[in-house]
Amino acid sequence: MRFLLVLFAMVTACAQDGATQADWPHYGGTQFSWRYSALDQINTGNVKNLVPVWQFQTGDYAENLQATPIVVQGVMYLITPRIQVFALDAATGHLLWQYKYPTPRPGKPGGMTFVQNRGVAVSGGKVFFGTTDNFLVALDQKTGAEQWKVSVDDPRQCGCDITAAPLIVKDKVIVGGNGGDAAHRGYLTAFYTKTGRFAWRWYVIPGPGEKGHETWKGDSWKLGGGAPWMTGSFDPELNLVYWGTGNASGDFNDEDRLVEGAKGKEANLYTASVVALDADTGKLRWYHQEVPDDLWDFDSAYECVLLDHAINGQMRKLLVHMNKSGVTFVLDRVTGEFIGAFSMPEVQTWISGITEDGKLVGRREPQAGQVVSTCPSATGAKSWNSMAYSPRTGYVYAPINEVCNDLTSTPADAVEGRFHADGGFTLKLPPDRKTYSHLDAWDPITRKRVWSMPYRYILLASVLATAGDLVFTGNPEGDFFALDARSGNKLWSYQTGAGNRGSAVSYSVGGRQFIATPTGWQQAITGAQLAPLFPDQNWRAGSTLIVFALPEAAK
């Protein structure tokens, strides 16, 4: 095995490039999910001159704007939570076409619909997106006319919906769904981009006869959660698709899902894990479970950052992944081998630590009939909003929230498609702090924090890194800002007028570099839950995309 690894390392001694160029073609920038642009026209020296050049109001103000815009050959594709899709001239903001998805059927029985949409995918002349009523839809990239539409599952039965941007992998479009807090068996589904026909499905929870099935008690596998509800990554050289999976359901109580004697071991596979699947067949190649027997709603459904770096003198193909607890794992993405882990939050009480081989120790678990306080909270040290990676600095950049919660654990029967958290959480702030979040730069190889920018409230927007050695993100007060990627010094800031919790991108048209960010605070779910912790806050709703560039004369 070791020999093979060495051999492989030699073959791929050249690091693969996950940077975007003129386009921003995929949700995570490229399929490597770096959220890093190779453009450097805007840099540490001139970012102070950055000005807004156009903006686009979606008119869809009820929720917010979380989507990552996709930019292909000078056209930007943007989606709103109520599923309006816009094609815009990326240089001017001029509307080229728009599409409105019909209002979905009424709410589903006892489940919970997340009215969000985090982006479209674009490939082969089509624009793809998922819907709140669980369809995957393809539009004509030139006209916005519907091409095909397929039901992934009936939300009235499964209690699930799609908020993630789909991932394009060769001739397929792969989409994950929500339902991790509902009694539902999570899965990823791949369809052919051309026809919409079914290609493969991978169930997070193995069925009878499959390896890992034995980690589920009785029939709990049928409704055990694990929904991979965000967007994965793809390594074309290895032909592997990487995805993070959601928490087991019920979230806060394991009575009905944990096999006797399994406490402290791998459990409820493959929930709260990172998995590698064969891109053509959807077959599992390897997995790494991050939170065995998850009892804190610590989804691991988030971005898999694929980067290559030398470890002990050998170039390795790595995967960096953080789950909601803020614990960040570094794995070999060829084999799934554990390489290292580090925890980004400063206040961590749910475990006492992680062993050298990645095992959680000193677990502080919710208990039925008691209130157990833990940090971070179920809203996450970080949730779906993505980190960024810069190959120039070698650092990953992530916003981390310092919020705790009181957990209750109340076992209840799982009913298909119904909310099945088996308890709840009440958020609270950790004592003796004046700031409750920070944007960090970490070296994932040395596992050291390089710099940290503290912030008084919380940070819920994704991060963008660029070859201009800049890091961009925004805060709920509406400031969208740029930091020096090496020092963390703030170099520029712009008040966008509404809270930021979207995902900024960079692209260029006709040789001019643009930075685009969605704005508008979320009025439901996580954003609304965190807001009452700060009585003096005034985080404003909205749904506007704002695009910045250097003044024409200065570029």
Partner: protein, 248 residues
């Protein structure tokens, strides 16, 4: 097919504050949703909003389209619905709520209000069996509000498993589009666009094409038998028993 409305008007002497509070705590003040006793949390405040009874009942029964508020009408028991609706009414100063739950009843994928026989219940579970993925009946058929209504509602129920396999499907034609022939169920044909379900493999894909680029021929090689292979004869017999009880 329209079902007679069964209106249940309950003059609610029966709802108790404590029962309603309990249902509210279990189903509403949980996880990412409302706070305890109608305080704001992930979802908005419900206490003291001035909601009227009809709005409260309707919202709890049917949910709010386009929001995270689900429909509880088919997932909670009538007793629990009455209790929780009465409780939310009390939070809005309605002392003696008159609760009209309307038609429908418990059992999400369920019945027309009457209990199913043991075999009917077995058939119901099979019809909607998620373990069978796109091989389940509800991939193409909607019964009592669950399932994807690709075809027209089921009205005639075949006598047995053999008849179910041999079902005549004259509506399915052969579409040729983009150089490929495929079994197709036409949804609509207008001057500028044609919509059809591509039945090449489950699940059906609703495709929108330029009518000029579409050629249609009567008949197809598609057979109902080819998409119900996830079920054996005994299972299909139970499914048919369910349909006979559920579709009146």
């Amino acid at each position: 097919m329209k079902r007679a409305f069964l209106l249940l008007v309950i003059p609610v002497l029966g709802w108790s504050q404590s029962a309603g509070e309990k249902v509210f705590a279990q189903s509403c003040a949980t996880g990412y949703c409302h706070g305890a006793r109608g305080t704001p949390a992930g979802a908005p405040r419900l206490a003291g909003r001035g909601f009227d009874q009809a709005y409260i009942t309707n919202t709890i029964m049917r949910g709010l389209s386009g929001t995270a508020m689900p429909a509880f009408g088919s997932s909670l028991s009538r007793a629990d619905l009455t209790a929780v609706i009465g409780y939310v009414a009390s939070l809005n100063g309605i002392a003696n709520p008159v609760i009209n739950l309307g038609p429908g009843g418990p059992g999400a994928a369920g019945s027309a209000g009457t209990a199913l026989s043991a075999e009917g219940e077995r058939g119901r579970a099979l019809f909607f069996d998620a373990v069978r993925g796109f091989g389940r009946c509800s991939t193409c058929h909607e019964v009592n509000g669950i399932g994807i209504s690709v075809t027209t509602p089921i009205t005639k129920i075949p006598a047995d498993a053999e008849a179910l396999r041999a079902l005549a499907t004259p509506d399915i034609r052969t579409a040729t589009f983009d150089g490929e022939a495929m079994p197709a169920l036409i949804v609509s044909q207008a001057k500028t666009r044609a919509l059809f379900y591509d039945l090449t493999s489950p699940p059906p894909v609703l495709r929108t094409v330029d009518p000029g680029a579409l050629k249609l021929a009567e008949g197809s090689g598609w057979r109902h038998a080819s998409v119900i292979g996830a079920y054996n004869d005994a299972e299909l017999t139970s499914v048919l028993a369910y349909l006979r009880e559920a579709i009146k």
